[in-house]
């Protein structure tokens, strides 16, 4: 064969692969465009989604497409012209060396796209889906707020929605309706709608009177005076609570004024006493006391806005409480946020046999923090006895008291002490076993691994998959499965080169003597990638089976060695098959 023939074959293979890639991408582009799932994505995302999804399909099917291209390129190679200076052995060696480089380059490209670009593209698709979820949830919220008469909020939600789906008729219609209603209504009354952060502390006269009575019993007259006075102020004149509070304050005043100053002085003294008590609460590490301090300082700042000391302590109480609980208004809109779902893991297990299992319905990462919803915890001792079983609607993940992360399940209502949300203890061996703070043994990345989407091993970068091997083992998931997935990824990287070489050999062996396909054959060309896809599926399954069998019976290292040896043997075999191909001419039929 002449040198030109090999060069021509190399070019032919390169061009055929590039054409096959282009056709494949075009095909998947059209396919994606016409199979756009409107259920999960907003209409304006159609083009972007189609492009990204086509990329995913394209990268996933690179191997069969490349094998088909090589097969066809070789199959349509014109009959080689024998050269007097080149023996058949030399000729095939030249054929091999001239084409193998091309195959390795394309193989490396495929591996790069699979391991580098594909996870990135998939992450982008997930992001589009999450944005759709958020937008649609805000759209629904807008509808709810409109029906509740909170037009300003409904408008804000809709404007947010329209930033993503600006041509949505029903959204535009709803927005017009809201704006019309806002114009019609008294704007000031609309703007005067109480905003959550502008709300005052919700005090309960009965509750305050109980506190006053308690303080009276403890002969803490100043504190009792403060609460009774507060109850008197918020109770309607003439009501039972009002009368009772008046009696209490009058009695205290009588008792104290006999040896002290007047009512104003008593009030100042009582405020001082309450502040001192709240400050002591704030200085403690008990979340209940800090919570009490928070409500006290909040009331004081509202009643005595000029009191800078109360304001400073109020801020401090908010800051301190935020590290030990979450405020329930933080999680009001969580439903609109996408996140990880169905997290299930072994949180802690000790050598004595006690185990703690945790499930989280969703885990949502927002600007304000990481929140978990639908929390359930089961822990049991070595004898099988249930130590604790609790559930909580919401929790916030923050740095724990003893390092690491912890799930804080106390929800503090910023306006009312009665609105505090605590985890529900379903069953417990002891009162102290079930706490409202659950120390977590997971780090940030581990949450993804134990979630529903995280259990899809195909979606990971190779290095992430490698990191996952150790991370999941301690969470109750079988390490072998991750190791097998990791080894399978290595094997498929070799596979693309091995199978391309085999395709080269088969294509060369079954090449058309005329260098052209038969007329009938042209019709069947589109079926080649499907057949190649099936063969590759079988090839990869057999690999998984062989490597998996070694892995589960022996060890990861042994499996890795077997894999590497096997791949090199297959590579050598495919090259050997290629070198045994004939370069002799066959006459056209």
């Amino acid at each position: 064969m002449k040198r030109d023939d090999f060069s021509s074959l190399r070019h032919r293979i390169t061009i055929t692969i590039l054409i096959a890639y282009a056709l494949s991408f075009l095909f998947f582009g059209f396919y994606s465009f016409f199979t756009f799932p409107e259920k999960y994505f907003l209409a304006p995302f159609r083009l972007r989604w189609s492009f990204l999804q086509a990329l995913v399909y394209f990268i996933t099917t690179l191997n069969p497409v490349q094998c088909t291209a090589v097969l066809l390129a070789c199959s349509f190679t014109a009959p080689p012209v024998p050269s007097f200076r080149t023996s058949p052995g030399e000729a095939i060696t030249k054929l091999l060396s001239s084409t193998v480089v091309v195959l390795i380059v394309f193989g490396a490209l495929a591996i790069g796209l699979n391991e580098g670009l594909k996870p990135y593209v998939q992450a982008n698709i997930t992001q589009l889906r999450e944005r759709t979820t958020v937008a649609r949830n805000y759209f629904d919220l807008a509808g709810v707020k409109r029906s509740e008469g909170e037009l300003r909020l409904a408008e804000a939600y809709l404007v947010f929605y329209l930033t993503m789906d600006g041509k949505n008729d029903s959204a535009l219609e709803m927005l017009n309706d809201i704006r019309k209603r806002m114009d019609d209504a008294d704007i000031t009354s609309v703007t005067a709608e109480p905003r959550p952060r502008a709300r005052l502390a919700e005090l309960d006269a009965q509750d305050l009177l109980e506190k006053a009575e308690k303080a009276l019993q403890a002969e803490d007259y100043y504190t009792a005076y403060y609460f009774a006075n507060l109850a008197k102020e918020i109770s309607p004149v003439g009501s039972t609570n009002y009368r009772f509070a008046t009696n209490v304050t009058a009695a205290i005043q009588d008792r104290l004024s006999s040896f002290q100053a007047g009512a104003r002085e008593i009030e100042i003294k009582s405020i001082f006493e309450v502040k001192t008590s709240a400050y002591n609460d704030l200085a403690s590490n008990d979340v209940q006391l800090i919570s009490r301090a928070y409500y006290t300082f909040k009331t004081l700042t509202e009643r005595y806005p000029e009191d800078t000391e109360a304001r400073a302590f109020y801020s401090e109480s908010v800051a301190k409480l935020s590290t030990m609980a979450y405020f329930i208004n933080e999680v009001e809109d969580l439903i609109a946020m996408p996140g990880l779902t169905e997290l299930f893991f072994v949180n802690a297990s000790s050598e004595d046999g006690s185990v703690e299992i945790v499930s989280l319905g969703t885990l949502i990462n927002t600007d304000e923090g990481v929140y978990a919803q639908d929390i359930e915890v089961v822990s049991f001792g070595s004898d099988g006895s249930l130590l604790c079983r609790l559930s909580a609607e919401t929790g916030k993940i923050m740095p724990g008291p003893s390092g690491g992360l912890a799930l804080y399940m106390r929800g503090v209502d910023p306006f009312s002490e009665r609105g505090t949300v605590l985890p529900i203890v379903v069953d417990s061996i002891d009162d102290d076993v079930c706490g409202e703070i659950l120390p977590l043994s997971l780090s940030g990345l581990d949450f993804e691994f134990v979630s529903h989407s995280g259990r899809d091993l195909k979606s990971y970068h190779l290095n992430k998959l490698y990191n996952m091997m150790e991370a999941v083992a301690n969470r109750g998931y079988p390490e072998d499965v991750i190791q097998a997935a990791f080894l399978a990824r290595i094997s498929s990287a070799f596979g693309i080169i091995i199978l391309s070489l085999l395709a080269l050999a088969v294509g060369w062996r079954l090449r058309s003597p005329t260098g052209r396909p038969s007329i009938g054959g042209i019709i069947f060309i589109p079926s080649f990638p499907f057949i190649a896809y099936f063969i590759i599926q079988v090839y990869e399954y057999l690999h998984r089976l062989a490597i998996g069998a070694v892995l589960i019976r022996w060890d990861y290292v042994v499996a890795l060695i077997v894999l590497v040896v096997m791949e090199f043997l297959l590579l050598a075999a495919s090259i050997l098959i290629l070198t045994t191909q004939s370069v002799k001419i066959r006459e056209p039929g």
Partner: protein, 341 residues
């Protein structure tokens, strides 16, 4: 020329031996990994019990694959046209008939293994089953635990399904024979909980060894053919011989398509598609319409042979085409040895 014709059966036999060993080995490996549990004791005699069924499943597909590969040689070295057709055909018939006799035994012997149990859980592990996730803290096997019973005992089972946790202090999982149709189930210790079917049957390693859907479909088709031949063998040995001959004739007659066009790759593809037709025809007769068609024939024995008659008819048609329309000598005129597979 004549030497080539006599060498074809030898090559067929060797090719068959290699493919048969590879396919049987793969089936055995797949079966052993499917039931593998690191904590469970190795069942004595597992290999001996599973070897025959695996070999039986591998037999017919290995013969067909060997014939397909032999076509490359027949095209390359055609030899005597008649002998090159008849000798491999007869050998393939002999291999199947003798193979079933050696592997399965006399007609009527059941092929499938009905004995043997497996253990679907490992301790301190989360298993993924169809209805959710399940954590099992401890597994006590009947042998190791010293209790007798037909199940394994599970301790401290936590199930996560549809966003809800279920805790069961003790549960049991029925030991399961692989031949049984219904899945094994977890029997809860508490009456307030319901039984949970264990699907997939061995959830420990099932994600690792998941069979691709296309291959699974193909395996079921191969099993269908295998079962068809075995049922005929049990019913009437002569019907079985006829069916084996028909299938082999159909497969062997496909050789005519290797010279269909001047493009060998396309010819090979067409031949492969025709080989696939063997399974499609049988699947048709296994479908509702196929059963209705078979039902038109009152004689039960003839009805069961309908697929074989179809194979025979198509095979004879291809042979006729070969004799009438394909020129004598080689399928491909070769110069200097040719290069067909």
């Amino acid at each position: 020329m004549l030497k080539d014709s006599f060498l074809h059966p030898v090559v067929l036999l060797l090719t068959f031996a290699v493919i048969f060993c590879a396919v049987s080995g793969t089936i055995l490996l797949a079966q052993s990994t499917a039931v593998y549990n690191p904590i469970a004791p190795e069942t004595p005699g597992w290999f001996q019990r599973h070897l025959a069924p695996a070999a039986s499943s591998a037999l017919i597909v290995s013969v067909l694959a060997s014939l397909f590969l032999l076509f490359g040689r027949i095209q390359h070295k055609p030899g005597n046209r008649l002998l090159s057709f008849i000798l491999p055909l007869l050998l393939s018939v002999i291999i199947v008939i003798a193979g079933f006799s050696i592997i399965i035994g006399p007609p009527g012997t059941p092929k499938r293994v009905s004995s043997g149990t497996y253990y679907p859980f490992v301790p301190k592990t989360i298993h993924s089953i169809e209805s959710g996730l399940i954590y099992v803290d401890n597994v006590i096997l009947p042998t190791a635990g010293g209790f007798s019973g037909d199940g394994i005992r599970l301790e401290r089972v936590v199930r996560y399904s549809e966003g809800r946790l279920e805790y069961d202090r003790t549960a049991a999982a029925g030991l399961k024979s692989r031949g049984d149709r219904n899945p094994a189930a977890i029997i809860p210790g508490s009456t307030s909980l319901s039984q949970v079917p264990i699907v997939p049957e061995n959830p420990i390693y099932s994600p690792m060894f998941e069979v691709p859907p296309l291959l699974r479909a193909m395996i079921s088709e191969i099993n269908l053919l295998d079962d068809y031949l075995l049922s005929l063998r049990a019913m009437a040995p002569e019907s079985f011989v006829l069916a084996v001959f028909s299938i082999s004739l159909f497969a062997m007659s496909c050789v005519v398509f290797l010279g269909l066009t001047a493009w060998p790759l396309f010819n090979a593809l067409i031949t492969l598609v025709l080989f696939r037709t063997i399974f499609i025809i049988l699947r048709f007769f296994d479908s509702d319409i196929g059963r209705e068609v078979s039902g038109l024939v009152s004689n039960q024995r003839i009805a069961s042979l309908l697929p074989a008659f179809v194979y025979l008819g198509i095979g004879l048609l291809f042979v006729a085409i070969n004799l009438l329309f394909v020129r004598g000598g080689s399928h491909v005129r070769s110069s200097g040895g040719g290069s067909a597979s």
